[in-house]
Amino acid sequence: MTTTPMVEAIGVCKSYAGVEVLKGVSLTVNRGEVTCLIGPSGSGKSTLLRCINHLEKHDAGKLLVDGNLVGYELRNGRMYERNDKQICSERSQIGMVFQRFNLFQHLTVLENVIIGQVKVKGVAADKATARARELLTRVGLEAKEKNYPSQLSGGQQQRVAIARALAMDPKLMLFDEPTSALDPELVGEVLDVMKDLAKSGMTMIVVTHEMGFAREVADTLYFLDRGVIEESGDPRSVLSAPKSERLRNFLSKVL
């Protein structure tokens, strides 16, 4: 068992068209831990998440996943950009769940969970189908496998999206506001699946506005504001005794 953290960010910066979204963010996520990122919109939470699986390129700083630089390789003291194939293989080991589910609309629920296994990992079709059914049972949707995403509720779609990500056997799961697009009564079913996943020992980074979930499940909580980490630590102490003015302000608005 190695002791390298699953994710390590050191002074990560990112700008879009001259606007600095991340201004030197550093964080550490240990294996098997659940990390929650909270903060107002535009604070850079989603951008940080997207940098971790290289959906966005960071401009400065160091970002390591499982001990490897994301998107780059260090050889003889120089940074080499990784080629598409290597980046794809890195991404396939990191599951991502989106705010708007992004299930493939033209595929059935079962096909959504199979396609990555077969086309990216090269798993045989029958094995992939068996694994997909097992995961759909785990998220409680085994009866919906023949349905198309448009025929499901938001909560059901998000649970399929989690199953689709899990089908790749990821070492790390990223959740980008997974319950923000859901009707309030559907939030619980998605959070339950995520709690289950946390209990099973999955390393998770969750961008969320669900303070109850953060308090209950997270091992570490980070509060981002204007591209920097304002506060971090044990969620219970951070949430009940916020030190900074900004976090107090933010919490008074969301709680």
Partner: protein, 337 residues
């Protein structure tokens, strides 16, 4: 308010006077059209015959639209051969158009300025010049390049010499001309389909570890097809009729075959009708085909796919049955207090 026993409202519907007048006028025009289509006119000739030494004459009349001639040539072998060439030309040039069009659309959306610029220029040129001119260009291509050579560019290494005149037969010239022209239009149709797919779909595919090519092939194109198919159906029907221009490269397709016949017997109108009827039959079959292709690619986009005409028919039949049943049921419930 008058009500039946079962609470349904009995309504006296509004009378629409304008609708009645409009219908009467339309009916009048339809009657005139049918009358003139099937009228007979004197040919100017007279038929005379002698009975018991008395000669009687009467003018000969014939269908104004020459329906007997239409009927005679409808299944003529020249016409059918022309029809086959028209259909072959339509299918092959549309295939070239669709495949090349999708490639151009992908190029157009590329991050490389050169690739997207090249695709844009292609569309600009082929859409900006008349298809008639393009047909003539490929028809007379052999004047520009009498001999086609295949080899390495700029190195004077050649593998193969071909006689351009035999390579560009009238059929192939028309196929290339119509296909390349169609690609310009198809690229815009394909591009509109590709950009209609939600960006989230691309992100989801990327985060699963799919390559650009896999994302395009497995996620974007299948969903873009839903947007691409209807205008492509339009293009196929349009192409079917545009093939008639191939007469200028001396290809005897459907209209050319009809023209050959009326060139010798001067029955111009009846033969134009023969050709038109075949065009109508072909477009009708294509429209039916389009319905089923659209339905296939609509998978998942609609919660309930639209019924096929056969399903609709059986629903209607069931509907009539249930109407009778409810009417009976209604009268029964009406008895209840």
């Amino acid at each position: 308010m008058a009500t039946n026993g079962d609470d349904t409202i009995e309504v006296v519907p509004v009378r629409h006077a304008g609708r009645w007048v409009g219908s009467a006028v339309a009916l009048l025009f339809i009657a005139m059209l049918v009358h003139t289509l099937f009228s007979k006119v004197p040919t100017g000739q007279r038929a005379c015959h002698v009975v018991n030494g008395i000669k009687t004459c009467h003018p000969i009349v014939a269908w104004r639209f020459g329906w007997n001639v239409v009927f005679h040539y409808f299944g003529a072998s020249e016409i059918l051969r022309g029809l086959v060439i028209t259909l072959e030309l339509t299918v092959l040039s549309m295939l070239i158009g669709i495949v090349l069009g999708i490639f151009l659309a992908i190029m157009r959306l590329s991050h490389s300025r050169l690739l997207s610029g090249a695709a844009w220029s292609y569309t600009w040129f082929f859409r900006g010049t008349p298809v008639y001119v393009q047909l003539l260009f490929w028809g007379y291509f052999a004047i520009l390049y009498p001999v086609l050579t295949i080899g390495l560019p700029f190195l004077h290494v050649t593998f193969l010499h071909l006689d351009a005149n035999s390579v560009f037969s009238p059929f192939r010239a028309a196929m290339v001309a119509l296909g390349l022209n169609e690609a310009a239009y198809m690229s815009e149709i394909a591009r509109s389909g590709l950009i209609s797919v939600d960006e989230g779909q691309i992100e989801a595919a990327t985060s699963l570890g799919m390559t650009h090519a896999q994302t395009l092939r497995l996620v974007i194109l299948p969903q873009a097809m839903r947007v691409i198919i209807p205008p492509t159906g339009n293009e196929v029907i349009s192409m079917l009729k545009t093939t008639s221009l191939a007469v200028v490269v001396s290809l005897t397709e459907l209209l050319g075959a009809a023209a050959n016949i009326y060139g010798s017997n001067y029955q111009i109108m009846p033969l134009l009708i023969v050709a038109s009827l075949w065009y109508l039959i072909a477009t009708t079959i294509l429209s039916i085909g389009q319905f089923y292709v659209e339905r296939h690619f609509a998978k998942g986009a609609l919660r309930t796919p639209p019924p096929t005409p056969m399903q609709r028919l059986s629903e209607d039949l069931k509907g009539i049955g249930s109407k009778f049943r409810t009417r009976r049921g209604a009268s029964e419930s009406g008895v209840r207090p």
